[in-house]
Structure formats: C-alpha cells, structure tokens
C-alpha cells in the first residue's frame, strides 16, 4: 500500500498541491483524476521522488520514501514500474533491449531466462514478435504497450501510470486500460493512474481521488462517481456530451 499524508508543493509563488492525503491500495486500480493543470501529475512525481516535497510524507508500505537516504530510495525504486505519458522508451534500444533493461541492471538471470521474461512481457501486452523494432518504428499505442511491458518486466510492487491513454483512439485506450487492470489484479500490484479520461474512470476506477485546484476534493469509486453531488466533480465528469447522455439515462 502507498499512503500520502498532507503533501504540499509550491512552484515559485504558486501552490500546486495543497495538503493532499490519500491511501492507494494493492490489487486495485487507484485513479488520480482532475482537470488539466490541477496538480495530479505533480502528485505522481512527488510520490516517486522526481519532485521534492515541501512538506508531508509518502509511505511505501510504511517506509517514508522522501526521508530515506539515496541508496534506500534506489532500493524502493527497484520495486516501481512507471508508464510515462510519452512512453519514455530508450530511442537507441530495440523493443527487446528496452524491456530487458531493468533485468540487465538488477537481476542475475541468464540470457535465456531474460529473453523468456522479455517475450512473456511482450506477449502480455500483445507485442509478441516485435522484439527487433526501435521506438521510432512503433505507433503511439504500441509505444504505450511497450512501455508497460518494460514497467512490468522486473515484477514491480508498485505501478505508476501517467495519462496512459492520452492521444490514443478509444479502442486502443480500452486495451491499455484492460491490460493495466488485469496486471494489477493478477500480480497484486499497487497501481496509481493519473488520468482525465472519463472512459478510464468508468472502466477501471476501483479507488478514485479527484483533485481540484491542488486539493483533495473528493474520493470514492467508479459507481459513486456517477451519482456525485459534488459540484466541481459533477462538472468534470459530465462535461462531455457522451457523459451528459449517460446522466440523462440514469435520471430517467
């Protein structure tokens, strides 16, 4: 489990994250949602240490991550898989090398064992047989799936996903969502997904944190979110025509 307690972050004179607390549970798809610029990606980066906290704590199974020394932080990070918005695949490496990279760095597996693991991960994200392709040769959806394969290669305990289906067509977005959900449940991973995609919320939102102007505005799950009375959340959820029609059907 990951718990954030009263975390704050200011850039210049703008407070981006204001006293946010929340618990992210294992074997659940935990979503952090909110409008663009509300501070959700900053929360994600604060959790993994890419930004420094002004105050508060981030507990990885009880370990206060920001207060650990650099070596202990690296040990925690070895248990983290992260799917970046743009994939962040290494351009100079093939798909196979990208997925094998964490195994090369942190395991003593034989070449055959590594290859088996790479092939398993690629097959898991439906990219089997694409081992020799470079990131530049992949489509947007394939890049996301490849990045997901790399993120799970070393059996992470925690999986962070930053806008995993932004820029994807709805069908591919659902494939990515389903993959993340399946992997989370199968391997008992604590998964945190930052998103503003309502389809994702409805598909996989087990545990949802809604951020508004940097604050913890609402918490709940995908069933509760459709019946919310919270004004800001309502405006966020039912902003699109599709969701408006869902709302009308619900209230008939």
């Amino acid at each position: 489990m990951i718990e954030i307690k009263n975390i704050n972050k200011t850039f210049g004179d703008r407070q981006i994250v204001k006293d946010v607390s929340f618990k992210f549970f294992p074997s659940q798809t935990n979503l952090v949602i909110g409008e663009s610029g509300c501070g959700k990606t900053t929360i994600l980066k604060l959790m993994v240490g890419l930004h420094q906290l002004d105050s508060g704590s981030v507990l990885f199974d009880g370990l206060d991550f920001p207060k650990l020394n650099q070596d202990d932080q690296q040990d925690v990070r070895k248990k983290i898989g992260m799917l970046f918005q743009g994939g962040a695949l290494f351009d100079s490496q093939t798909l196979e090398e990208n997925v094998r990279f964490p195994l090369d760095m942190f395991t003593d597996l034989s070449i055959k064992e590594k290859l088996d693991r790479v092939n398993f991960c690629l097959q898991r994200v439906q990219l089997e047989g694409k081992n020799g392709l470079y990131p530049a040769e992949l489509s947007g959806g394939m890049k996301k799936r490849a990045a997901l394969a790399r993120a799970i290669a070393n059996n992470p305990r925690y999986l962070f996903c930053d806008e995993p289906n932004s820029g994807l067509d709805p069908k591919t977005a659902i494939v990515i969502d389903e993959l993340i959900k399946d992997i989370t449940h199968e391997y008992n991973i604590t998964t945190i997904i930052v998103s503003h995609d309502m389809n994702s919320v409805i598909e996989i939102g087990d545990n949802i944190l809604f951020i508004h102007k940097g604050e913890n505005w609402w918490t709940g799950n995908k069933s509760e979110i459709l019946h919310t009375t919270n004004k800001e959340l309502f405006n966020f959820v039912f902003a699109g025509e599709f969701m408006k029609s869902v709302f009308k059907v619900q209230n008939k």
Binding site: L50, Q74, F90, F101, D104
Partner: protein, 236 residues
Amino acid sequence: MLMMRVFKRPQKWSVYYKQIIFEIDNIGISSLPIVAIISIFMGGIITIQSAFSISNPLLPLYVLGFTARESIILEFSPTIVCLILAGKVGSNIASEIGAMRITEQIDALEIMGINSAGYLIFPKIIAAIIIFPFLIAISMFLGILGGYVMGVSAGACSSYQYVYGIQTYFEPNKLYYSFTKVVVFAFIITSISSYFGYNTSGGALEVGKSSTKAVVYSSVLILLFGLILTNIFLNH
C-alpha cells in the same frame, strides 16, 4: 554535484562495460573519417605554406618536414582536432542527453532506481579518454603523411629531405605533452557537453541551445587548458 554522481560506484559493471564499448564506437570510431580528412589536408597545407614562406636560400629544405612534424604534434593534432571533436562529439552528446531529458527517458532511468548520471555520462567520459589518444595518434601520422605527399608531389622538397626533417631534433617528451593535453581535452569535451545536456529543460529549442553552449564552453576551456598545460610542460 553531477560529477560526484557520475563517478559513484557503477551499479553493474557488465552493463557499464558494454556501454563503454558502444561509446568508443559512437564517439571515437565514427569520428575517424573527419579526423583523417582534416589531418591529411592540414598536413599538406602546413608543408606547402611553409615552403612558400621560406625564401631564404640558407635555410635547408628539410626544415619543411621538421616544421610539419612540430606543428602537427604540438598543436594541430592535440588542440585543433580536439576543437573539431568538441563540435562533432560535444554537440552529439549534449543533444542526445538533452533529448533524453525532455522526453522523460532520464526520469525513467531514475524511477527504475538507476543512477542516470553515472549510467549516461561515465561511459562517455571513459570512452573518450580511451579513444581520443588513438584518434590523435592517427591524426598525427596522417598529417605528417599528408605533408609528405603534398610537399613532395608539389616539388617543395625531396622525399629524403622531408623524411630527414621529420626525424631531426625529435624529443619524445613532446608526445607526452601532447597526449596529456588530449586526455584533458577528452574529459573537458565529454563532461561539459554531458552537463549541458543533462540540465536541459523545456523542448527542442532548449536542446539546440544546450548543444551550442556545450560546443562554445568546451572550445573555450580547451584553449584555456591548452595554454595552462603549455605553460606547465614547455615553459622552462
């Protein structure tokens, strides 16, 4: 601070070793054609210009070989070729690392628990320190050869005179001075370029700016350290 992270004990030597071999090829071997072309032509130009400038009949023609050797070994190969490499290798390193920074590849390394500075920069520095002296040795050889071919074919001196000239008053200590400079310059080019690349923020425009800064700062530092090392080694 960055250098402390760069020289922190590598997390896995076998991965770093592979990276060093890759960078030797990427930084060194791929620079061989440009170094070779420039060296041959510059050697020829130095010899022909020297021949043109020597109008005193009392000066023996083997001076052409002597001048070419001294110019090439002392200054052209270690300094001028390193300035050219600062342009080619320095901009390459800064833009490569800068692009990795803006596309979150460096963040991805950090999240995996990898010392990104060490993984990306250490192999480049070691590779350059290993391969640059070889490149410069080849440059010296080709420069002197270029001088021979151009000088003799242009009729500026005979083959015997040129060969006699390059063997005259040779002091091996000068090679020690030259290669010391090369090692220092290799470190300057790779570390400065890596620094600017690693600290890139923004987008493609900033990657270009980092690349330009890397070349400018590396070149200035090469000239500065060239002067300092010349004072240390040759100013008796």
